[in-house]
């Protein structure tokens, strides 16, 4: 009886603060209101903009089809009466005092907190070189605007540093604009960290078929500018140089978790640890009561993957996890939901729709189950120890639901059933994920082992991670 009263009271007047005003933050706020939470909700964002969508920044914006302002996310009709604190980053979390400290000196008190600060693009490691005119990093809307303007001016060549999803999509945009583009990629092929070398090789061919000057197993060692501070050329690890006035740094993402370093939460390189109900884990690996995490910044255990912790940079995860977190923030304990959605991501590049369901990096082997690798139109399934863990499609997205269901049912790998459009021989081969101990730039899915606290980690290097 009393707990009912306390719960009802919280639902009416408890104060919820969301740090992070992007996709996850917005989804959470909408869900809070839909769930009937009527207390004050504040969203704090470091950028001065209302939440906006990121995928278009590497697709429709660089080609000039839509202006960056159009990326603002639509707000659900239930999102009323929410306070926005934009353009001011959070600097500290006072866990015991239940206060968030902001960069402008103010502190904000909360009853429950959602951490949704996401990730930021990894900057170029040399600050002097990074500040050369012509060097871009796609951090957000403003960068997208600047890059768009530069591409529209028709540079003679664009250098894309890093062949992950963002880099590949930007290279695709350059080719759509008929700009010469060079992509440097540390691994054996673009997207190798996410898809494994067998499938990534096809992505490499796709790039070359579209005229990309793709250089694999090569890194950029330095960027050289002229006396006026403008980029002139890049020095590559194979000893060559490349003349270019535009370089885009696409070396993956860093979790925005530094502000939580001394907070007493389990924070590390891969974000803030939490349980499957999105409650944050503290430094003693004990679940907190009132601190929640969602989106790119979260590390969470997934039952389908042996309860290994996942750290995802997926659009779908930001939405779904935020919805689960918000629900769990205001519901009765008996009504808590776990975030167990099968991870999924997509990329559209060079006219191909690449989609994935599951965790490819959990796999040892891969096999083409439908279609043809050569035609860049196929379904590839991934497995580990005889179990299906992921599927990736190139222009065959309608089949993905089917494979998601199979993954959820712990179906065998390789698939044993006869189905449409199957290659005559289906023999699995090693998937070709890079050596986990070798650092590379980008992993949109990271399996990070059991221990959420980096200081006590003994990594089990069975999987790829940055």
């Amino acid at each position: 009886m009393r707990s009912n009263g306390a719960r009802a009271a919280f639902k009416d007047s408890g104060r919820i603060v969301i740090v992070g005003a992007s996709l996850a933050g917005l989804s959470a706020a909408e869900t809070l209101r839909t769930e009937g939470f009527t207390g004050p909700v504040m969203l704090i964002g470091d950028e001065p903009y209302l939440p906006y969508d990121r995928p278009p920044l590497s697709k429709t914006v660089p080609i000039g089809w839509i202006p960056p302002e159009h990326t603002q996310l639509p707000r659900h009709e239930t999102l009323t009466d929410v306070e926005w604190r934009l353009g001011v980053p959070a600097t500290r979390l006072d866990l015991a005092g239940k206060r968030v400290h902001l960069a402008d000196g103010y502190t904000v008190a909360f009853d429950r907190l959602l951490i949704a600060t996401g990730t930021r693009a990894r900057p170029w490691s040399n600050p002097a070189e990074a500040s050369l005119e012509g060097v871009y990093t796609l951090r957000g809307r403003d960068d997208a605007q600047r890059l768009r303007q530069r591409l529209a001016a028709g540079p003679r060549r664009v250098l894309v540093i890093g062949g992950g999803f963002t880099g590949s999509e930007l290279a695709s945009a350059c080719r759509e604009l008929d700009l010469p583009v060079t992509v440097t990629e540390r691994g054996s092929a673009p997207l190798v960290g996410a898809l494994g070398s067998v499938i990534a090789e096809r992505a490499a061919t796709l790039q070359r078929q579209h005229g990309v000057d793709l250089r694999c197993q090569v890194t950029v060692t330095s960027l050289e500018g002229d006396a006026q501070g403008r980029l002139r050329r890049a020095h590559l690890s194979d000893g060559s140089t490349l003349d270019t006035e535009v370089a885009v740094v696409a070396l993956g993402a860093i979790r925005n978790s530094e502000w939580l370093r001394d907070s007493g939460l389990a924070v590390g390189r891969f974000g803030v640890g939490c349980d499957a109900g999105c409650r944050a884990i503290d430094i003693n690996a004990i679940v907190t009561d009132d601190i929640f995490v969602a989106g790119d910044v979260a590390r969470f255990p997934h039952p389908l993957y042996d309860y290994q912790f996942l750290a995802l940079e997926h659009w779908g995860n930001a939405v779904e996890q935020a919805q689960v977190a918000a629900h769990n923030m205001v519901c009765a304990p008996a009504d808590r939901r776990p975030h167990v959605a099968v991870p999924a991501f997509w990329s559209s590049q060079f006219g191909v729709n690449i989609k994935s369901v599951g965790v490819p990096t959990a796999a040892e082997e891969v096999v083409i189950t439908q279609g043809s690798l050569d035609d860049a139109c196929f379904v590839a399934t991934y497995g580990n120890e005889g179990q299906l863990v992921a599927a990736v499609t190139f222009d065959q997205a309608k089949w993905l639901e089917h494979y998601r269901r199979l993954i959820e049912q712990a179906a065998p790998f390789p698939p044993t059933f006869r189905g449409v459009d199957q290659p005559t021989r289906m023999s699995p081969v090693p998937a070709g994920f890079p050596d986990p101990t070798a650092p590379t730039h980008e992993a949109t899915v990271v399996l990070t082992g059991y221990d959420p606290n980096e200081r006590r980690v003994q990594w089990i290097p069975r999987r790829y991670h940055t």
Binding site: P56, T60, P74, H76, E77, S348, F350, G351, N353, D395
Partner: protein, 60 residues
Amino acid sequence: MAPDVFKLHGEEALWYDPAPDEMQREHVLRAAAACPVQAIQVEWPRAASRENTGEHRGIA
């Protein structure tokens, strides 16, 4: 249904303008209603909603 607002990249990927202008409103609404997976969410701009409070609805 709204070819200036939605376009296919290659055979499959659907790209769209998240903030089309007023001229496209009817087309977008038709597309939202007809979307086979009901994936299009429409939000009215704030200014319009003040005048037509009855119309301030998102179609999720």
